[in-house]
Symmetry: C2
Subunit: 786 residues, 2 copies
């Protein structure tokens, strides 16, 4: 947990007012900067103390063996782990003869500010060395959104009350020691010092280091360049070694004088190009950065973010905590996806080594809904990444004895890296979630290029996967047996409602896309009878329903299973660390929203009463051991009218990292939950849904939110939804002739740029009382800051 | 495969008439000798060539890490692997200057004979050295049934046509190089040179070596002693080193003269006693062996076996192949269990390193039925071993969040060593199989001591396991969800019929035992309401039945699952090496008898018609990828009247190792299948069943068997069942007043020692035609030797 006092509640920034070494691991993640291509953890400039030093290049990974005590056919043999690449953010400071270190000497002040509009991390330090020399340090760090390969630091030291000799050592360091990642010596060996030196190039004010990974054979270059401003003479020199380079600046400052060092960093990597090409690319990045200059980089950064916030901001009156948390989340999702550009968006973005840097269904399921509405180009790129690994997914399907394509449950480069198949391979729903993201992109943006370039092929190949795996029973009903839905406490089950409905949606989407692109479909070998088979399966899909209880069974037989003893296990979270899968899988205990997610994403088959009853039933057995759960629970609670509970869950989703609610923020931020926080507001309290060809909205606010205002992009237009407790108003911006049909509180209304639409809020009365959660799993109450 | 010509069909021996290096791995297993305590593979006396050198002490194991790429709560972290202990059977021969080796020089003759009545392995060799010196070698090896710690070799060399200098080097060798066992370096490291030298003792005619395992900390001693007979002067000397000892005898033989060396071996080991105690125990074993002398050991051995065969032999007229194979199987099961004496009986006995030397449910499920009827003391000892690990099983149940005791799926020392829980922990039926063995022992022997000493506690603790795991649904029906039955291609399923019926039997047996021993039950904390709960669960147990098909579903929903594409996978055996569990688990494909085993062991709930229909249905989808399957399929096919098919399966079970039908005889023999071969005859063609308190018999022979005669022990009496195609006759031996009620062809008859009973065979007409098996899974036809 991070106490509420650590980060003061401020609308546009996250500020740590004083240094707390016990929260260093968490703040390394919270203060991470990234642009989707390069990421740096919020490590201190001087490198130490640290918990997890981290600099990442999207998709730059090393392979490692996956050891099984009892192997099995089709088990992946190679894992992939994101590499902590050459650290360029390191700037050491020596004051007279003392190395600056926050835990030596006296720290008079230490503040770090993540500025969500400027897109920089600022730090100011007031320090007295053990020898009694006081200095002020100000550093500002950025990872550029506009120059993909560039990061930069402006570092300033001021002498306060004595003349001091200031030595600044700015470095590139490869193969930093990492905290242990595995008890397996083979794995540790693969990941210990993963970078092999290839070449070093000393420049006038810096250097470029080239390294290669041993097993994956990827090549990278990291370069640094410097601009120094000093009030008097200074010396500058650069040393280069295979695993490090160091530019040293030394000068003497009188009280009030400042030494300023701007450090530009350029990164590049390749799986195929030559060392020379990669070296030159890093050098070109440095040239571009130097050409823009520090101030230019900052201006570009702010302009980029101004545009982003204009399209993406969510304003919340009355709940300043949620306001800050949601913007923090939006900013970090932007950092994860902005410039990923046909690479994966990992579950932790580029903020830490958690989950080995893998991408999961989190991307398409939770991050892309947001990006599709506010930064559609990034969503398109993420889908194009999936297309780029389609051949590997085809191979994987062949390995599994299936047709079409089976995307990897977790991966960096595209190969399946999940080593526990009941919660990997069996989670076949991932494929339908990807298909849904393809379909959503088209519906929301109106842009057909993604479907044309890659979407059709993804839809067709995933549809083929479903028909080769599912089957019709003797009565013609279509089943998908032995799969794992989102709830990982119920693996290898039959007819998971979420999976079945998503698969049916996948099949229909594929049929629709083939209909729109008959020529391309034919080139993929799709024949009319194949499409008929898709639709026949979708139409005959089984959706288990328990007549006795009047609720849907999450999967066949689920509601007949034994109850879980929640009382006895109230202090055991997550349950999977206290109970074996053997016990969890066939009990009525739900790790994370599963049927709730089915109702959120595929609302059609559920009546209002069924939805209310289902929410009530599953709320009581969901322990929320996954950070992917709160946002969905919030959206569904809002839908059935439990607005206060929805508000609680919105806090859970939004504060996951600012309060470290899952006690693992140290390993990186939870992108899906941060994006999910946006969903709690826009889809939950805003009531946003995509219905076939029309946008549905139904704003209804909880008591603690006075007014909610959010922006969406839709078919090239910009939409602003603005609601308080009485009125909901929709405004349209963009092409003066632009118009949009919206289902507002189930009423079909036309919105034009000229004429906003306003309607009184239609309240919802819950059919059932507010459900309780299992002991130990109730969300924190909103307004009571955890 | 081992061709039919390799071992000539002979009733009382298995003879390899000439040496085939390509079958060396298999013959090392086939010619293994053991007594349940000490086991030696059929390695050549001179040690080389070899495939897997093997000398084993029951339960002498080393620990090794179990590495998981994705760990989970309750996963065992330590494996156990049987250790190849100090090899004492090694006798090298040097003829003049040439070391004898079967692939050097010229091998004029090489014969090995496993004598099933003498209990020895004989070898005779006629060899010409590369230098042209011809010798005849005769060796006889035994592992004593009467002296548990003793093995011995009589080794004789004869000069044929030249005077030769003969050097015989008889050795003890620790830490022999083994073929690689694991790709994991940690595992390999743990098992590479597992023995650390502790102490060496040189004796007058031999030596004793003491070693300790690194991690498990077990201490062992291996000693050798020699008696030499030579026609002229000979020299004898002994060298001792930490990892080996060597007694060398040198002499000169003229043509026709012989050097004879008798080598006695004594083994001992401990987990707690001192090196001195263990050393002295090995020395005492040597003293005992020397006191008996070679001839004495052989006489004791034959007497022991005479007694065994008198109680256990099965005579088959008309099928010499099956006759030989069944006796081979009986002999090896005896070797596995005779002197195990409160240690586990591993799946491979002590014949090889397969399955790491672990014991599974094979013991209670397939080996103990045989031992209970023919060597009840060994069965009692095996059950007492289970009692000795009951506390570990209790701990395991606690780890799993369950009451009572959960026995390990695979183990040597008692800790769970199964690293894939869906086919380990989830196979909860093991506990009921153990309970059934306890109950069977009482029913068959009438001996209450096992129930008193250990059976009650096992029954009560396993009953508690079931009631803590199973549950009553809202309608009161009792379910056992998420378990794996015998069929490992259908893991983590609900209401597996076999598991449910066995669990119900376990619960009733526990209630019965508590009824017989109220005081002891009370001391175990059993109260009347607990017993009522057991019986309520047993009475309400769910047995899935598919009304539409008129067959039982192996587990809930099984008959609704998709068909397996048997045609496309006809050459893929075992399927698990060609398809992922993900595909196998929810298809109608059965690895091994599961519902068939339920009908075999729990026949009551099945009508004759249901039984016939079930056999028909499951025959068509059972691929028989486990060696535990053929015997059950044979028994059930016999029961429903498919006698010829039953005969085919009897061959499969009995010839599993003599023909290497599963292509893994190299790793050790299949004790369950070898014992199962007995079941095919006695329970299949003999119709033996235990019904509550009476023995049922119903001999019906297939065409290829003219007459079947088998022996059973029952309540201290000896029963001989003798049947041909017309008549079945039961004779009783023992106490002249002995009498027995038998259900013969469903007729209640009294058999006394004075009056045998004879009835005409009541034939059975199959209700359905002979079923086909999946393509690629039909058994070999009996009579057509594979």
């Amino acid at each position: 947990m991070i106490g509420k006092a650590v980060f003061p509640v401020e609308p546009w920034q996250v500020r740590e007012a004083s240094f707390d070494v016990d929260l260093l691991a968490q703040t390394e993640s919270v203060f991470a900067l990234a642009n989707g291509h390069v990421g740096v953890r919020g490590n201190l400039d001087e490198g130490e103390p640290h918990v997890i030093p981290g600099t990442y290049l999207n998709s730059f990974y090393e392979e490692r063996p996956l050891p099984y005590p009892e192997g099995g056919y089709g088990y992946p043999e190679q894992g992939q782990t994101v590499v902590n690449v050459t650290n360029g953010k390191l700037i050491r400071l020596v004051v007279d003869d003392e190395q600056f270190h926050v835990t030596h000497g006296r720290l008079l002040a230490h503040e770090r500010v993540l500025d969500l509009r400027a897109g920089v991390l600022r730090r100011s330090v007031d320090w007295v060395s053990p020898a009694g020399r006081r200095v002020r340090i100000r550093s500002t760090r950025l990872v550029s959104f506009t120059q993909r390969s560039v990061a930069a630091v402006a570092y300033e030291v001021e002498a306060v009350d004595h003349e001091v000799r200031i030595t600044v050592q700015s470095a590139l360091v490869a193969n930093e020691a990492q905290p242990g990642t595995s008890a397996d010596p083979r794995v540790a060996a693969a990941l210990d010092r993963p970078l092999q030196a290839v070449e070093q190039d000393q420049e006038q004010h810096g250097a470029v280091l080239l390294h290669r990974t041993r097993s994956s054979g990827l090549l990278m270059a990291a370069g640094m360049d410097h601009v120094v401003e000093a009030p008097a003479d200074f010396d500058e020199e650069t040393d280069v070694r295979p695993d490090w380079a160091r530019t040293t600046v030394v000068t003497v400052l009188r009280p009030g004088e400042r030494l300023r060092l701007v450090k530009f960093l350029g990164y590049s990597w390749t799986s195929s190009r030559s060392p020379q090409a990669v070296r030159d690319q890093a050098a070109a990045a440095l040239t571009g950065a130097r050409y823009a200059g520090w101030d230019g980089l900052c201006r570009e950064q702010r302009a980029y973010l101004d545009d982003f916030w204009d399209a993406a901001d969510v304003e919340i009156d009355g709940d300043a905590v949620l306001q800050q948390a949601v913007r923090f989340g939006l900013f970090h999702v932007l950092q994860a996806g902005a410039r990923a550009e046909r690479r994966a968006i990992p579950a932790k973005g580029l903020t830490g080594p958690g989950y080995d840097g893998h991408a999961f269904w989190d991307t398409e399921g939770f991050v892309l809904p947001l990006l599709t509405y506010v930064l559609p180009g990034a969503a398109a790129d993420a889908l194009r990444w999936r297309r780029s690994i389609l051949d590997l997914a085809r191979q994987r399907a062949r390995t599994l004895g299936l047709s079409g394509a089976a995307f990897p449950w977790r991966t960096i480069h595209g190969e399946e890296c999940s080593a526990y198949w009941p919660a990997g391979t069996a989670a076949l729903h991932l494929n339908a979630v990807i298909a849904r993201a393809v379909e959503r992109y088209r519906q929301v943006t109106g842009d057909l290029s993604v479907e044309r370039d890659c979407g059709l092929e993804i839809l067709v190949e995933t549809a083929r996967l479903w028909t080769s795996y599912g089957h019709h029973d003797a009565a013609g009903v279509w089943h998908v047996d032995g799969v794992t839905g989102p709830d990982e406490y119920s693996a290898v089950a039959d007819d998971n409602v979420f999976t079945n409905l998503m698969a049916a949606g996948n099949l229909r989407a594929a049929a629709g896309a083939c209909d729109r692109q008959p020529g391309a479909a034919e080139r993929l070998g799709v024949r009319p009878d194949e499409i008929r088979a898709w639709l026949a399966a979708a139409d005959a899909v089984h959706v288990p329903y328990d007549e006795r209880l009047g609720v849907h069974a999450q999967s066949e037989g689920f509601t007949r299973y034994a109850a879980w003893d929640f009382e006895a296990t109230r202090d055991q979270r997550p349950l999977m660390l206290h109970a074996p899968y053997f016990q969890l899988y066939r009990r009525q205990v739900v790790k994370q929203a599963d049927l709730a997610l089915a109702m959120h994403w595929c609302p059609e088959p559920f009546t209002a009463e069924q939805t209310a009853r289902n929410v009530d039933y599953y709320e009581r057995i969901t322990v929320r051991d996954s950070s992917l759960s709160a946002c969905t629970q919030s959206v569904m609670c809002a839908q059935v009218g439990h607005l206060e509970l929805a508000h609680d869950y919105a806090w859970e989703a939004a504060l996951v990292d600012l309060r470290d609610l899952h006690a693992n923020t140290r390993d990186g931020l939870h992108m899906a939950s941060l994006a999910g926080a946006w969903s709690t507001l826009v889809e939950g309290f805003g009531g946003l849904r995509e219905r076939a060809d029309v946008l549905a909205l139904a704003p209804r606010l909880p008591e603690g939110i006075d007014r909610l205002r959010f922006r969406l992009r839709h078919h090239g237009l910009r939409l602003i939804v603005d609601a308080d407790h009485r009125t909901a108003r929709i405004t349209l911006h963009g092409d003066p002739g632009g118009r949009l049909t919206v289902l507002l509180y189930d009423e079909r209304v036309e919105v034009t740029v000229a004429e906003p639409v306003e309607r009184p809020v239609v309240p919802i009365k819950p059919l059932l009382g507010v459900p309780e959660q299992p002991p130990g799993s109730a969300p924190h109450r909103h307004g009571v800051d955890p």
